[in-house]
């Protein structure tokens, strides 16, 4: 979704300036300001929980860290009186560092455990706030800390409630812009990939541990920032302002708005701050209602309430349904896509009309690029891979076949770094890559697909493939947020590369399909997207795990040609696991047969097809 345009921004600024003037009294003024604070908080949580899918239950503690740091730096408590503009970043950064440290200890934990650890941290934090007032008075205990210095920004004094609301909403605007910049950047795409499928994100070159840490820290930064502003506004900080109840409220805001949906989250924050004030007589019911809301939304509408309202989400009208909602015939759509724009592609137009294959630019070389030496891997008592040796040569297409459970996919998992062998080595171009983490294997130049498809289901085709460009681009937070020239250039490059790859698939992945969620595609198309995603990491070697699974004979023929083109025209080196032997015969330079983790046979297809060991593995021993 595109960010807000200039008109929206101007409208927003006018609204924020005018509303304080028409509010009836100071009480509503403060509600207006508190709403701004909550908007910031919700946007920050949206980054951690919405974009990245981390259930961070310590988020409110960073709000507290920001607030208390401000109390330390701008009051008589320790006698430090820093100017506001200096204190604010210190508070935000302190919170960020705390988030970083907490993240370091726990980011590797799986979802539920992360939730508990963060919850425990938040509890400890509150306990510390309550108890660190003896023997030395650090936090003021249950009394909190009060009476802060007045803010003056370059001789502009922030005293009245109106001043404060301007300040707070300006800060909210900044956080809002940052959210948008991040969401549509490589960083946001990386985070979305992690949320959808962390393992797959790793295999397309994203260092998920690091990225999760960044997400955590960014959320903490925003929370700390909001905390400092909040503390100044309240002129006091107490332990109870930073507790579980506030956390629940912020979560409700984000969930009502829809995890990841920026406008929705803002709307959620506004609604949930103002509604309780309007319904004050039902105050006792408030928390009960939040509970019900959480349960109901998760059960009935987990994508949030606001995503259905036009403008709130980018959910486009499904192009495969006409105005009355009936599905259009797929053939209509197929031919309609003929008129979609087709930019210049490296795709050879002769492929379409000319049945004879073009002269291959690349053929199998003799230099090995991937060597597997004496690899053994056991899972408990089961030997999955047994002393396996393998050499893959440059520009070679090598197929691995064998009965189910032979260890073929396990081999891929070892190569791509998901498992580490107990013995033996994996050597890629003279470098020992055994034990490399998956993202490092990918950035070195080996990409893979999965037997059971691990696409980012909630993302569109284009977004899935763009996510792969993460490891080949370098724009970081500063560059992304200020949209520097380097970021703009990389975005353009990414767009182009993705389009080029998609065009290699001919008419299969074009037009309206590009923006469809991959979960809505046919199985065969999903396989194609997975291959496209692997290709987008600019690998030298492709590991394709049963690329033709789920395809009919015609599609299998297509993919067979496609695999050949990948090597012949584009020079990939390919390792293929397959069960369809006609495909294997058509593409392979060599074939390796595995059974019970061992290599039982190796050679050209025709040679191994006659081999009695191979026949026995597939069909069993000949009866006497």
């Amino acid at each position: 979704m595109k960010g807000p345009n200039a008109v929206t921004l101007v409208f927003f600024l006018i609204a924020v300036s005018v509303i304080p003037l028409i509010l009836p009294n100071n009480y509503w003024q403060s509600i207006f300001s508190i709403t701004g604070i909550y908007v910031m908080l919700a946007l920050g949580l949206n980054i951690v929980a919405g974009f990245t899918g981390l259930l961070d239950l310590s988020y409110i503690a960073f709000f507290g860290i920001g607030g208390y740091t401000f109390a330390f730096l701008c009051s008589d408590h320790f006698g430090i009186h820093l100017p506001f503009l200096m204190a604010l970043p210190i508070c935000a950064v302190t919170a960020m560092i705390s988030g970083f440290l907490l993240g370091l200890t726990s980011i590797r934990l799986k979802g539920d455990y992360l939730a508990i650890v963060t919850l425990a941290f938040a509890q400890i934090f509150q306990l510390l706030l309550l108890n660190l007032d003896a023997p030395i008075n650090l936090t003021g205990g249950v009394n909190g800390i009060y009476a802060f210095d007045m803010i003056s920004l370059f001789s502009l004094k922030i005293i009245t409630p109106e001043n404060y609301s301007m300040l707070i909403w300006s800060c909210a605007l900044v956080v809002f812009m940052i959210s948008f910049r991040l969401k549509s950047s490589r960083i946001g795409r990386g985070w979305n990939a992690i949320r959808e499928d962390e393992l797959a994100a790793n295999t397309i070159g994203i260092n998920t541990t690091r990225m999760k840490l960044y997400s955590f820290a960014t959320g903490a930064l925003i929370a700390g920032f909001s905390g400092a502003v909040f503390a100044s506004f309240q002129d006091s900080v107490f332990p109870n302002s930073f507790g579980f109840q506030q956390l629940v409220i912020v979560y409700c805001m984000v969930i009502i708005g829809g995890l990841g949906n920026i406008y929705g989250v803002i709307a959620g924050a506004v609604v949930l701050t103002i509604l309780p004030e309007v319904l004050r007589e039902y105050g006792g019911l408030r928390m009960m209602i939040y509970g019900v809301v959480l349960v109901a939304i998760m059960a009935i509408r987990p994508q949030g309430l606001f995503s259905a309202i036009p403008g709130f989400s980018r959910q486009q009208r499904r192009p495969d349904k006409d105005e009355t909602g009936a599905l259009r015939a797929s053939t209509d759509l197929y031919y309609a896509s003929d008129h979609q724009d087709k930019p210049h592609t490296p795709h050879d137009p002769d492929q379409e009309t000319n049945p004879t294959p073009p002269r291959a630019k690349f053929v199998k070389q003799t230099t090995p690029v991937l060597t597997i030496e004496n690899l053994t891997l056991c899972f408990g008592g089961l030997t999955a891979i047994d002393s396996l040796d393998l050499k893959l040569h440059k520009n070679e297409i090598l197929s691995i076949i064998g009965p189910n459970g032979a260890g073929k996919s396990t081999l891929f998992n070892v190569i791509s770094g998901i498992y580490k062998g107990d013995q033996g080595r994996v050597i890629y171009k003279n470098q020992d890559i055994s034990g490399y983490k998956p993202h490092k294997v990918t950035t070195s130049g080996i990409a893979r697909t999965f037997q059971n498809l691990r696409l980012f289901n909630d993302l569109s085709v284009v977004e899935n493939i763009k996510a792969s460009r993460f490891c080949r681009t370098t724009s970081f937070f500063f560059s992304v947020i200020f949209n520097l020239k380097s970021n703009q250039r990389e975005e353009k490059e990414t767009d182009e590369k993705v389009r080029n790859i998609l065009n290699m698939f001919g008419k299969r992945l074009t037009g309206y399909r590009l923006n469809q969620k991959v979960s809505q595609l046919s199985y065969a198309n999903r396989r194609r997207v997975e291959i496209a995603r692997a290709m987008a990491t600019d690998p030298e070697i492709l590991l394709l795990d049963e690329p033709s699974a789920g395809m009919n004979p015609q599609e299998t023929e297509e993919i067979t040609q496609f695999i050949k083109t990948l090597r012949d025209t584009f020079g990939y080196t390919i390792l293929v696991i397959e069960h369809k032997l006609n495909l294997v015969k058509a593409v392979s330079d060599r074939v390796i047969v595995m059974d019970y983790g061992k290599k039982i046979c190796e050679g050209a297809y025709d040679d191994i097809a006659e081999n009695p060991l191979v026949i026995e593995a597939y069909l069993g021993k000949k009866g006497k």
Partner: protein, 310 residues
């Protein structure tokens, strides 16, 4: 020297009593996690409801705080009804809040259980008020046997009762899990829910049973603690829940013996910590243990390291 020994023994008794309770709560968490791989945030509130049910039963059968029936009978009734009500509530929660989310992403389940927890807590707050409910337990125990002083150590009858009941419940549970068919079905489902379904096990029924048992135990823990400390209020579930979590994770989530061991260990650690540190930091001890276990040994004391199948 004798004094230290007496103090430590006294603390040990404190620790074992509360440890047994933590164990009961932890079992509920661990059983649900075993079959559904979800952490049921609302479990603590089932504990709280157990306490309240006990109180209502006590009030129902007492006039002016004097029970109208035999005390042993009344206490048994309190415990049984608390277990029943919590079990029922657990069932309802599973049906309404968790079953629709079986296939949903993890986060949704967790947030939903959070919502249930908040709802129940505030429901009780709204309709019962914030004030504590007092159990007039002296009426239930004959004068002579209320407290025993042995050596330098004092132990009240109620404490003994709680320890024994916790132990009995845990033994019952172990028998059910190890010896009955449903117990076997539960173990199978906990290992691999799909395979269990393929083997003809009605996994829905297993899940319902697990919630029943776990919630019942949580309710029992609630009423036992309320009898022991003579008070219950709407907020006790939250803290108890967190401690129960900690115990379950400490012992190895998914492992029932782990939950028991974890509970006892946690109770003892807390009691010992108070001996040497200001007692306000007692709760910090629990959370620090939690964090340490998760970082250095995430599978807990008795759990197994699981490899994700790719």
């Amino acid at each position: 020297m004798e004094d230290i020994f007496a103090q430590l023994s006294q603390q040990a008794i404190n620790g074992i009593t509360i440890g047994g309770v933590y164990a009961l709560i932890a079992i509920g968490y661990t059983m649900v996690y075993g079959v559904l791989s979800m952490l049921n945030f609302a479990h603590g509130e089932l504990y709280m409801i157990g306490g309240f049910t006990g109180w209502w039963v006590l009030q129902l059968f007492s006039i002016n705080h004097v029970p109208v029936m035999n005390a042993a009978l009344l206490i048994s009734l309190m415990i049984l009804l608390s277990m029943a009500v919590s079990a029922l509530l657990g069932l309802v929660i599973e049906r309404i809040a968790y079953r629709p989310l079986r296939k949903a992403p993890r986060m949704n389940l967790l947030l939903s259980s959070l919502g249930v927890s908040i709802f129940i807590q505030n429901f009780i707050l709204y309709f019962q008020g914030a004030k504590v409910k007092v159990f007039h337990v002296s009426q239930l125990i004959p004068q002579g046997i209320r407290v025993f002083h042995v050596g330098g150590v004092s132990i009240s009858f109620m404490r003994i009762f709680v320890i024994v009941t916790c132990f009995l419940l845990m033994v019952c549970l172990t028998l059910i899990i190890k010896k009955t068919n449903i117990g076997k079905a539960i173990r199978a489902t906990a290992q691999d829910i799909e395979a269990a379904a393929f083997m003809g096990i009605d996994t829905d029924k297993v899940i319902v049973t697990v919630f029943l048992i776990g919630s019942a135990l949580g309710g029992a823990a609630g009423v036992l603690v309320s009898l022991l400390f003579t008070q219950v209020d709407y907020y006790v579930g939250f803290q108890a829940g967190l401690k129960g979590f900690t115990a379950a994770v400490l012992g190895g989530i998914g492992s029932i013996p782990g939950a028991m061991a974890g509970g006892l260990m946690l109770g003892l650690c807390e009691a010992m910590a108070v001996t040497f540190f200001p007692s306000a930091y007692k709760d910090v001890v629990a959370f620090l243990i939690l964090i340490a276990v998760l970082i250095f040994r995430p599978q807990g004391l008795l759990g197994e390291k699981l490899r994700e199948k790719v």
